[in-house]
């Protein structure tokens, strides 16, 4: 079980340059597999361009109470990158003027940012149509000071999206750490108790499923059926939607793929499952991702690869949606993770 981030271990994969190198070498350099650029060019979809910005995804810091083995953020208790109140203020100014209808807070564990509650209160005063917090569930159980999060979320009508890799303890704990399953179940019960995830409730509770291993997720609807049945039968837990998300070959998941000698096969599976009709709906076409230090990215994955937007405007301090929307999206082979099968985004499948 992982205890430390790649950064803390000074692993070479903590450098985004190293990751990008791996993603461009080997099977992609020798022509065994086509690059993502060549692949989308086949259907005239290169360069990839954004449409209207609908979602602002703000990463308020890489600190997390967990050290999941598949984490694309390389998050953990040892990460100290935390968004300051000043940067949050700059984000609030954007939220006031954006055309986006969804605000999506992520991390790490966003709740661990000391100004998290202040930020949520201020942002919800502005009035966001869909205000998402990506909560890892265990944070609610991690410390007394977080126990009241379900009520806090309810008070601000937060849309809670949480990770749950499987409905069995074994698979969940393998991916996310010892004891994570039981704590997640307790947290879900508490969310249910205040109304989250109940049928017809406005308090939205969605779960994210990502495979615990070197394989792709299958049919989202049938997974949702299995999850719902298992969680209600075994624990009496309810939720709204299940989003099936493909693990992208970056950061700690890339580390795992390489260490388990699954990297090449996994890339083959992604390329084989390439679906040209998923390309037009990939997340970066309607999302702007903002990092803890205010830089702008096409998506959370590009953020972790340190690929800032290819635009004159690169930072929240100079944010301008019109200028930003007139950019080419930066791509590499990790993008195959977004276009496999029914596609994959932070809101699940895209086709």
């Amino acid at each position: 079980m992982l205890k430390k981030s790649l950064h803390k271990r000074a692993n070479q994969l903590s450098q985004s340059k190293k990751q990008l190198e791996i993603l461009s070498n080997g099977i992609f350099a020798n022509g065994e597999l086509p690059t993502f650029k060549d692949k989308i060019a086949e259907t005239n979809q290169f360069p990839l361009r954004p449409n209207k910005t609908e979602i602002l995804q703000i990463n308020v810091g890489y600190m997390c109470n967990q050290v999941c083995s598949h984490c694309h953020v390389d998050a953990g208790p040892d990460r100290k990158e935390i968004m300051t109140k000043e940067t949050m203020q700059q984000c609030l100014d954007i939220i006031k003027n954006t055309g986006a209808h969804t605000l999506d807070l992520t991390g790490g564990a966003p709740e661990m940012n000391p100004n998290f509650r202040w930020f949520v209160e201020e942002a919800s005063k502005i009035g966001v149509e869909d205000f998402i917090v990506r909560s890892n569930l265990t944070i609610i159980e991690a410390n007394k000071k977080y126990n009241d999060l379900p009520d806090f979320f309810k008070k601000h009508n937060i849309h809670v999206i949480s990770s749950m890799p499987h409905w069995t303890k074994e698979k969940t704990d393998k991916q996310r750490g010892q004891g994570v399953f039981n704590k997640s179940i307790e947290a879900l019960k508490k969310l249910n108790a205040v109304g989250y995830g109940m049928p017809n409730s406005n308090l939205k509770l969605d779960l994210v499923y990502n495979p615990a291993g070197a394989f792709l997720p299958t049919n989202q609807a049938s997974m949702e059926k299995d999850f719902k049945k298992a969680l209600i039968d075994d624990f009496g837990i309810q939720f709204h939607n299940l989003f099936a998300i493909t693990n992208l070959p970056i950061s700690r998941f890339l580390e795992y793929l390489i260490a388990s000698e699954n990297y090449e096969d996994y890339m083959y599976s992604l390329v084989e499952a390439f679906n040209p009709s998923a390309v037009k709906n990939v997340m970066c076409t309607n999302t702007i991702s903002i990092s803890w230090d205010g830089w702008l990215y096409d998506c959370d994955f590009n953020q972790m690869l340190d690929l800032k937007v290819d635009s004159k405007v690169k930072h929240v301090s100079e944010y301008n949606e019109d200028i930003l929307n007139n950019r080419d999206i930066i791509i590499s082979q990790h993008c195959y993770g977004c276009t496999a099968g029914a596609g994959s985004s932070c809101q699940g499948t895209v086709v």
Partner: protein
Amino acid sequence: MEKTYYDPADLKKFPKITEWSEELGEKFFDYYGKVFEEGALTAREKSLIALAVSHVVKCPYCIDAYTKDGLQRGITKEEMMEAVHAGAAIESGATLVHGVQMMKKYDKLSM
């Protein structure tokens, strides 16, 4: 590389069989795809049947493919192992039921 009869990389080349007989290859893959679609049986049930049969016919390619397919479908390892046992039970039963033939022949030949 060591010389072996089975190479895991060959599984990816499976579609190539069509190159030497287009009509039959295509007919086979069409049929194959159709068989595993959701029908009176769910795709999940069919995946478990395929896994059991893969073991009975002892095809390493099929075992790799349907273990992965099962994982993708969220099939648990307990379910997978039970499927393998179902296949193994039929296979050993098929061996053992021939014991009746042996018994009959034995009796016939014996005074």
